[in-house]
Chain length 476, copies 2
């Protein structure tokens, strides 16, 4: 596009912020008494877009620490990084909440291959989180391709001694890629349990992605109620390798697949949720929470999952401080540990809330990537729902049009009760599963503006929830 | 994000297309008589997302041809590529529309530097399209930094013998980045004309981008009504280099900047718009047009600008054929030549329309990148506006919420008259200017799903415009 087209735009430009420097114009009193919500929201966006530092925080977290699987030294570094950052930002209270987490380690890089007409085809695989290792010599067996757990149940004893290849792809026709993920992830999480029951010797699972590439995507799996002796090793294979294997199996149904992995589960390890607060001006003993998860898978840098949620959540508190907006309730950022393979941090946090009888008014989670904003989900009682949905009018000018009832996210879900309002931040989902749990989830996939638009969107929702919600349902 | 979160989604999944294979279920009769618009639109999206080939077309165009500046061998290759593709797709009519285009060539790679305290700082620059060369020895002069053309007018004679450095950055606070571009691009297009008038020896212009990086962004400039002897060479410098130069000028206001470029304007060259048609079933002599521009700047691969618009426009006609939807009016794809530095193709096309008295009902342009869909602009008479805007309800489920009155784009704007309806496809704009006119506008920046969502969005709008619009304004 060029000049001619944009001459038109030029005439449309409105001076959006001719007022004085953001940080000086909103006093506590102004904010809550005189300023319109739309004005406050505009300031959140202006400040995030022109002065935001979340992108640089993310660079630091992803490039200097990187992947940070629960129990790893990197996870501990991330805890220390977050604690220091919160203190440097001058939050009123900063502390670590101890929690024991699963400690699974990948071990040596996995190997997989098979041979057709004398030529060896190497297969990009990675062990799924929680899987057992193969024996030292690996596993070699014929492969049965299936599209569902049900199909395995139907095959029953016929799968004994075989490797089960789960190859049901995402439904590309679903606009929301999380729905496509939701329609496939049972293969990854539960495939090994079912296949092990009938005597399979291993499972390989098509990577949970819409991209056709050479990267295996890891993720959590579980053996459920299986007996220990029925545990079998399970790995993800890249989507391209899955397509090729499927083709080759049609021509060579007896081909022998080999894979080897040396992952193991160590004893639970000590770790922490990292928590910071800005004390509430009216109700210091009631809480509004914003958060994401600090841990990530080990293959990439944990950028979109969930480095972006971490820095956006921290950015929300920074925005409140920059604009000198004092929340009515205590505004708490919680960076949860172990979302990926146990949600122990989430459970621990909810337990402590209950034990200490802390009243939580609202909570917002960002764990769907750092792409351009699309909206928020709502989970709460019917009384607050209409009020919540009415805020769409304030945020749709910033691209947030999708407001729907839905799950907020794994880390704040355990806080659910009759009075709380929960929400999940929903950025655009098209690219998310290209990187999700893979080596490609790196800093360069995040766009600074998209990230900061998210920070401002979240700050706006937190501001509205803090201002208008209380533990008493709003009366109609 | 992991399993727990998505179990919820899994339960929400609806089988969106249990019907038979798309291509067999919609007959001509069905489409226009029995099928609801929402059903047809759903089929456009299903087909594009699961069987679309626009991404592979784009790979071919960008990787095997690449940048294709008007008059270049690559532009001619792109013409032949598009003509062959249209014929291979079986469009009813395919032809080339001759047009003479400006032929500017960059010449050798540009060089720029300055020295501070004995150490040389190299500066990434590129000549702006249409600029003259420097002398063989380059230009060396002191630098005056300005933020606007007006400032140059005010300085007047004081700039004689100097290099003018236009350094007004994009306004990061504007949500729509095209507005930020519109607020800055006068420096690039008109800076040299104004500075040359007062005796400056060259201008360097901050790249038109929100990204802070090392890539200079080219783009068109003009000397307007300047006398030939007042023409001065002009180049873009990277945003990072602009920031550094600005800092250095504060400490070293007398520093001497050197740059050299060998670009030149050759005689106009013969080229073509490439046009293909599906003949209308009811009104074969009335036209609905969809298009983008085939030329691009030379530095990158012309991926988002405007390879995506080209393959999306071609994809629209392919979708009509795949689904066996016969348009009422003749559906014409026009791939315009020379949008970037002359819009000669656009002018030529509009001239021919006028000369041949072709009745155009509607036209849609895609030239704002290939990112995730956001909406459409409307330009037309008041009678059709409400109808057009009512289609938002059909497309917002696919993420198209932004429907506004605005410019459709440089290539179809010349078609404007009292009866036609013009529209511009509007994808998300956050990343667009990171790549725009720079070496970074490459295939890897395009996401397959985002691209195909655009194709389906455009096909949907074309379908609706073809079905409901005519040259007679709709009666209320």
């Amino acid at each position: 596009m060029k000049k001619t087209f944009l001459a038109v735009f030029a005439t449309l430009i409105f001076v959006s912020c001719t007022e004085k420097k953001n940080s000086s114009i909103i006093s506590t009193e102004d904010t809550f008494i005189n300023k319109k919500d739309s004005t406050v929201i505009k300031h959140f966006f202006n400040t995030a877009l022109s002065e935001g530092v979340a992108y640089e925080w993310l660079r630091d977290l992803t490039k200097n620490i990187g992947g940070r699987l629960s129990g790893s030294p990197e996870a501990q570094q991330a805890v220390e990084w977050a604690e220091k950052l919160m203190k440097d930002e001058g939050f009123d209270k900063v502390w670590l909440q101890p929690v024991m987490v699963p400690h699974w380690v990948r071990g040596e890089k996995e190997v997989a291959n098979y041979t057709i007409n004398g030529s060896k085809i190497n297969v990009p695989i990675c062990a799924l989180g929680g899987s057992i290792a193969t024996s030292k010599n690996g596993v070699t067996a014929e492969v049965i391709e299936v599209k569902s757990l049900k199909e395995v149940e139907e095959l029953g004893g016929k799968i004994r001694g075989k490797i089960i290849f789960f190859n049901r792809p995402f439904d590309a026709k679903l606009i929301n890629t999380f729905k496509a993920y939701g329609g496939c992830v049972d293969q990854r999480y539960g495939g090994a349990e079912v296949a092990g029951k009938f005597g399979a010797v291993g499972t390989i699972v098509r990577s949970m992605t819409l991209s056709i590439d050479d990267y295996p995507h890891t993720g959590s799996m579980g053996y459920g109620k299986a007996k220990k002796e029925d545990y079998i090793p399970t790995a993800a294979i890249s989507s391209k390798a899955a397509n090729l294997l499927s083709e080759n199996l049609k021509k060579h149904p007896k081909l022998k697949f080999y894979f080897k992995q040396s992952c193991k589960t160590l004893p639970d390890a000590p770790s922490f949720n990292v928590i910071g607060e800005i004390t509430g001006s009216e109700f210091p003993d009631k809480y509004v929470v914003v958060g994401g998860h600090l841990d990530s898978w080990d293959l990439g840098e944990g950028a979109h999952d969930d480095g972006t949620g971490v820095v956006q959540s921290l950015g929300v508190l920074r925005l409140f401080k920059q604009l000198n907006i004092k929340p009515k309730h205590t505004l708490r950022v919680v960076l949860f540990m172990n979302e990926e393979n146990g949600t122990r941090g989430a459970k621990k946090y909810a337990e402590e809330v209950k034990k200490n009888k802390e009243i939580h008014v609202a909570a917002l989670e960002s764990d769907a990537g750092g792409h351009t904003p699309r909206g928020f989900t709502y989970k709460g009682n019917d009384s607050n729902k209409d009020l919540f949905m009415s805020w769409k009018a304030l945020l749709s000018p910033y691209g947030l049009h999708d407001w729907s009832v839905g799950s907020p996210g794994a880390d704040i879900n355990p806080l659910m009760n009759e009075t709380i309002t929960l929400s999940g931040y929903r950025p655009d989902s098209q690219r998310y599963f290209d990187y999700h749990h893979a080596a490609t989830d790196t800093f360069d996939k995040v766009n600074r503006r998209e990230l900061e638009l998210g920070t401002a969107s979240m700050a706006s929702l937190i501001y509205l929830m803090d201002k208008y919600l209380d533990v008493e349902p709003v009366k109609k």
